[in-house]
Amino acid sequence: MRRFYAILIAAALVYMLISFISTVPSYGKADLKERVSDAFLSKSVNAQNTKAWMEGKAIHRQPAKEIYGKKVKEEGSANVVTSIVVNYRSFDTLGEVTVLFTAALGVGLILGGSRRKQYGREANFVLKTSTGILVPLIIMFGAYIFVHGHLTPGGGFPGGTIIAMASLLLYLSDEKFFLSKASTGALEGSMGGTYVIIGLLGLAIGGYFLYNFLPNGVVGNLVSAGIVPLVYVAIGLKVGAELSGLVTDLHSEKEG
């Protein structure tokens, strides 16, 4: 009986979703001119007139504007997804960082471990040796990913996750390895604080929270896009510390 109702509910939901899908432009036929993304892609948000845009009137932008290798006044990252994540919609990202912070905090509070859990098995020679070689490389790769977040695919979240993988590898290869709560907590707290302080500096200088108060530079250069790389470095380190803390919590147990 339970299964019957479940099928009924699920079917009703699917029917509703499918009936909605008929109102969406079919796959691959999305028209970006009707969406805000058009202004993000052409980096012309400042040139738009909100009221006219909302009324669906013509969009104000020069056709085929050269962007790569040029100085663009509005926004300077070559990767448009990054420019949305850390500049146009940076506040979402602050929230996102907070969710991860909350999750790490919650796992710590719920599991409440303070000592390394012992599984009583020894890692073999291959794992131990390769860990020693791989860990620095993994950390370097993670750092590369988040430092270049505004130029290439990637960014703070993938970069931080890669760094956390290094600490997971250490946990798997060494029964005694243990990251103290104080160190990961200090890194994650200070990096989260850095993000907010960058935002508050923007509020003080430009009058808007998370305002980009640094020069944008040339699109495609490593030092460009104003606060974007700074924020991504902070996020990368924070996510790395947070996920390492999470791994630590899963590998620890209560005293006594």
Binding site: T98, G189, F209
Partner: protein, 464 residues
């Protein structure tokens, strides 16, 4: 300025992660500072903060109007009061700071996706609070329902994006979405918000979470519940004006009846109050779904009364439940707490002399005027049941023979706060306009989507 309400608790929470021992003082500081900021913001209503200087609908914006101001005011005061109880807060100060930021962000934001992010933070922090006192299974139930709701909310948000082309609430409100699409969008939003707003049949988590420990009901039954019910009004009245309200109405009526009946058969004090909280949320939702200025105003008036009363009731009940094995006659030992409890429960039932009377009576009169008799009938039925179980509990707690002889020292702070709030309930009965005036403004702001849109558009002209 208003962005500080969200950002300051966050930065304090990050600082608390560095040095754990500072977390409680930081919590108290952040709540005090937030209350001060809210009071200072009074003069800048209505205003819009454009984050990063990216004008709407491209960037994210925060909207402070009469409605969101009132919700933020209530939420911050509640958090301030909760933060005073050091023992109750315990290890959870950092979580509470994040939650405070999330409540403020959820209420203030003018962007659909941003509100989804804050909703998820609310759920995550709520789960952590619920897991206090080893209440893991109930916390898990809440997590499952909460994140299912989050997924539906996200789906509705992206559906809106495919129709409107932006994620901005003002733009979504301005844009004429096709009939076929808006029905699906509003139903998904109903599911998404229904979990936090305790709408039937998505409220299975409430009794376990409110009845499981001494911290989560204090925050979740008051501040979080207020924020969720505010968002109901914002989305269904301002943004998608008029759609899915009849579904909301029917579900709300079922919520009232189901909540009251469950409360009647409940033997556990905290769970009784939890079910009563569900029923009250149903009353508020039913009144919101009528979408007239009078009824919406009364809905938030009733919600305010309920929040105050529930805060007192949970404050007293959690103290009793976690200090005594048997509750018979405990009020003989704690007369002040008992008086506050009785006053609040009278207000909940709607006796004359207490605030609940004003809101319930006015609702009934208003509904009779529009000759809708279904809601008044359900409301009266609910009142009768409330009368039964709340009087039963009062009699049990005051007059039955004491079985648990142990005596816990009277908590002075708890008694003071609960008696002050209880007196406030009497005050609201005598001068209902101190609450009714602001809630009328709330209703006006929620129903007037034109001026909401114009505020947001104007903010994009002023700046860069």
């Amino acid at each position: 300025m208003m962005v500080l309400l969200i950002v300051l608790p966050l930065i304090f929470a990050f600082l608390a992660a560095i040095k754990k021992s500072f977390s409680y003082p930081l919590l108290v500081t952040s709540t005090v500072v937030n209350v001060i900021i809210v009071l200072l913001l009074k003069t800048s209503v209505p205003s819009v903060h454009v984050l990063g200087g990216w004008k709407p609908p491209f960037g994210i914006n925060l909207v402070l109007d009469d409605a969101s101001y009132y919700a933020v005011l209530i939420a911050n005061i509640v958090f301030f009061l909760v933060a005073l109880f050091k023992e109750t807060v315990g290890k959870y100060s950092t979580v509470l700071m994040v939650m405070l930021a999330a409540v403020n962000g959820f209420v203030l934001t003018g962007d659909l996706f941003n509100s989804f992010v804050f909703l998820e933070i609310l759920t995550a922090t709520g789960v952590i609070l619920a897991s206090k006192r080893e209440n893991y299974y109930n916390a898990f139930k809440y997590l499952v329902l909460g994140s299912l709701a989050g997924s539906m909310y996200l789906l509705a948000t992206i559906f809106t994006y495919t129709q409107v082309g932006s994620l901005n609430m003002a733009h979504a409100s301005y844009f004429a979405i096709s009939e076929k699409a808006i029905v699906v969008i509003t139903i998904l939003y109903l599911v998404g918000l229904g979990v936090e707003a305790k709408l039937f049949p998505l409220n299975g988590w409430v009794s376990g979470v409110y009845g499981g420990n001494d911290l989560s009901p204090l925050v979740m039954a008051t501040a979080v519940s207020f924020a969720a019910l505010y968002m109901m009004g914002r989305l269904f009245l301002t943004v998608f004006g008029g759609y899915a309200l009849h579904i909301l109405y029917v579900l709300a009526l079922i919520t009232i009846v189901a909540g009251e009946l469950a409360a009647l058969y409940q033997k556990n004090l905290l769970k009784t109050l939890a079910y009563s909280s569900i029923a009250q949320a149903g009353i508020v939702l039913a009144a919101i779904s009528k979408s007239t200025e009078k009824m919406v105003s009364l809905a938030y008036f009733h919600l305010t009364n309920d929040v105050i009363a529930k805060f007192v009731l949970f404050l007293v009940a959690t103290f009793l439940v976690y200090n005594y094995k048997n509750l018979n006659g405990v009020f003989k030992k704690h007369k002040v707490l008992g008086t506050a409890f009785t006053i609040s429960s009278m207000s909940l039932i709607g006796f004359p002399l207490f605030a609940g009377f004003q809101s319930k009576l006015r609702m009934l009169m208003e509904m009779f005027k529009t000759s809708d008799y279904l809601f008044p009938a359900v409301l009266l039925f609910a009142t009768v049941i409330e009368l039964t179980y709340l009087v039963r509990w009062n009699v049990k707690l005051w007059f039955e023979d004491i079985e648990d002889e142990s005596e816990v020292k009277g908590p002075a702070l708890r008694a003071t706060i609960s008696i002050i709030l209880a007196i406030l309930l009497v005050g609201i009965f005598l001068a209902p306009n101190i609450i009714l005036n602001p809630t009328t403004k709330v209703a006006k702001a929620l129903l007037d989507s034109t001026s909401y849109i114009n505020n947001v558009i104007a903010s994009s002209m002023g700046g860069m």
